[in-house]
Subunit: 308 residues, 2 copies
């Protein structure tokens, strides 16, 4: 199978099979949910260190949130209206002990059992920067804030394409501040991120993009987002030689989150926000599918950047 | 507030307030769901390296699963019967676009909206070793297997005690093999784990324990587990000086998982399994509450072990 040479044509199914056969991805039986080998994880770790080094001049605050997001905070965003199909709502059992045998029996018999559950206080995190905003309610310092985040995030979109997982990690640098500060952050990371990925032999291209807003109304929102050039993606062919995949994105949110969570600049205006997000699994997949499955055999220049 | 000296008395509320005030824990508004500062994460990273070094002589396979677990695999365990109150079932929206405005309206009005959701193919992971077992169906190699795991896991038990989080990380070494291999793994890690934690100035004690089985029937199961001494916990006071908390546990599962997932030894018997699990957030909390909030000021011997 012609994997490991960037010029070799490949399909999503060929890529997935090769990655699983090599032990890099461990199937869970659910499309888009994988375990990862130590080799795969090692590449993500080294890429993250590279990101940390490149972000160090900004002196970011470091915060790490788990994959759960306060349900009340979730409902202050418009995620439920824009991306309901992607959400993950966490439910549990809070009934009495005497009903548990019936719950277990229904589950074992293949009958409906989840209608006996109740929603908990949490959702799965839709994007790594969401949990930050509710903690930033109030007034920003005069120079705004720059925050380094990493989180597993959830998108309910089962797919045979390993470059479209249901749960995956995003590493982000988020800027909260004035419109000028936010836009400058987005623009400078668009350039810096492109350079970072190209130095890894990943020949990304920056393209104007839109979020996958749901339904008919969503098409209008997507078109508006593109028209305002709020979102850029860094794309290259990953699992399919025909179809480029975004491995990073650079986003200017205007006052979307500042308004929803009452975040204000030092001079009292609603804060604007922007972020760059690196899709860690997709970047690791791109590296393996471009340079081959043995990091020890990757080009010296790439190994040097990743300190492999 | 007398935090940072192991002899100083403290309550759960004092500990949580101090950890939040110091910026080590970042509240999400949901009990038991926190973000972590870079300093907190750094301690977890260094502890994990220590664990890796200590486990290296075993030559473990490394696997990393995300916090989601195949719903069908979940239902092959008895988690739903034993710990239904702790489960996390993930639900999403798969209805038509035309119903989304009503879904969003109901949510905004504080009405029930989650009954419009459907269960997905995944649950939240109950313990780091669960996702391993379905991948091990079949026959083990003659010497069995030893696997190094780390995962975020979920337990629906909202609590004001930061040592009882709803989502947290477990690092595990799991053994799959004969009864002798499994028991020897559990016993040797009980000793090795105790030594590892004591070298960090954490004066743990090994105690016989049981899992928190639910309801009246659960009390009988817990008593049986204790009687067979299947579970040991390494405990010390963490957030409360009155009440010890388990920061690691060493478990012998008998053929519980081997039977559920059709795992057999080379000579055709049902495999037995055992694990040691380190509770990473609890260990970090114990270190901060024992040695103080500035790792730079921790005892030299502790800093040396953690390579801080």
């Amino acid at each position: 199978m012609p994997v490991g040479h960037e010029t070799a044509p490949r399909t999503v199914d060929e890529s997935r099979t090769a990655l699983v056969d090599a032990g890099l991805l461990i199937p869970s039986g659910v499309a888009g949910v994988y375990g990862f080998s130590g080799t795969f994880e090692g590449v993500i770790e080294q890429f993250e260190r590279y990101v940390t080094r490149m972000g160090a001049p900004l002196g970011p605050e470091v915060m790490r949130f788990p994959a759960l997001f306060n349900r009340e905070s979730y409902l202050r965003t418009d995620h439920i209206a824009c991306f309901p199909n992607l959400m993950g709502s966490v439910h549990s059992y809070d009934g009495p002990g005497r009903d548990v045998p019936d719950l277990a029996r229904r589950a074992a018999a293949g009958e409906d059992w989840t209608s006996g559950l109740s929603p908990t206080a949490v959702m799965l995190t839709p994007a790594a920067c969401y949990p930050l905003y509710p903690t930033a309610t109030g007034t920003l310092p005069p120079r705004g804030r720059t925050v380094d985040l990493r989180s597993f995030v959830f998108r309910h979109e089962p797919s045979p394409d390993p470059a479209r997982m249901q749960i995956f990690r995003q590493r982000e640098f988020v800027r909260l501040g004035t419109p000028e500060q936010a836009r400058a952050h987005r623009d400078s990371w668009l350039e810096r991120g492109t350079g970072m990925l190209r130095r890894l032999g990943l020949d990304v291209e920056a393209v104007v993009a839109n979020d996958p807003f749901f339904g008919d109304a969503g098409r209008v929102m997507g078109a508006s987002q593109r028209e305002q050039t709020l979102k850029f993606e860094l794309v290259l062919p990953v699992t399919s030689s025909d179809k480029p995949t975004a491995i990073s994105s650079c986003n200017y949110h205007l006052d979307h989150f500042g308004g929803a969570f009452g975040i204000r600049t030092a001079d009292g205006e609603v804060a604007h926000t922007a972020c760059i997000g690196f899709g860690l699994e997709r970047i690791a997949l791109a590296l393996f599918l471009t340079h081959g499955f043995r990091p020890a055999a990757w080009p010296a220049a790439v190994r040097e950047v990743l300190e492999l």
